[in-house]
Amino acid sequence: MIWRKSARPRAALSEGGYETWVTADRSNTLTGYDGGLATRQTHLIYQDGRLRTLTLTEWERLAGFPDGWTASLPTSERYGTLGDSFHPGVAEWLGGRITAVHDGLTAHPTLLDPVTDPARAAVEFDQQLALFPV
């Protein structure tokens, strides 16, 4: 069974603050701040009759890296490095989107042309801005 902290206290517990833990249908975002001892981490796992928090290997898996990817670093730096990392899966997706846009531009070569008709370019710019109303 796995829990994750779902709300951090907004005030000291003695002043009415509270934090909540829920069954983890998903993980929290990992940050270096939440690494280390169980009292800092935001996940708890009940396994084989014992309670623990995430291992560094599990941090690596959640961050999208192979097991032992950060093993050469001191323990405290491993949490910070993984917490600061950008998930390779997201990077791959973004790269795919950039490639797709590039391919789209290739399929519409006129979009790569220098602006030869400022009036038309202004109209197209306004059309695109209109998609993001403030």
Binding site: Y18, W21, V101, L111, E124, L131
Partner: protein, 80 residues
């Protein structure tokens, strides 16, 4: 959704959250959690840590969101 020209958002490109989590094995806890972690690893909750965690877990009683099983486990660790 596409722009006026239809090229810049690529209607056919999937978004990361298109697929439900259950359809992606790599995102399930069973692929994340170690089955046999080091029994002496520092990640196991100690009595001292449990004593600090209990009041934090209990604090959710103020809003009726305390997890009784988690609280029971932690209290068991502290000998309460």
């Amino acid at each position: 959704m596409g722009g006026p020209t239809g090229w810049w958002t690529h209607d056919t490109s999937p978004r990361p959250d298109d697929a439900p989590p259950s359809s992606d094995p790599a995102s399930s806890w069973s692929h994340i959690v170690e089955e046999t972690p080091d029994p002496h690893g520092p990640f196991w909750v100690t009595t001292e840590q449990a004593e600090k965690l209990v009041p934090r877990i209990e604090s959710a009683e103020k809003v009726g969101k305390v997890d009784p099983f988690l609280l029971e486990i932690l209290r068991g660790l502290t000998g309460q």
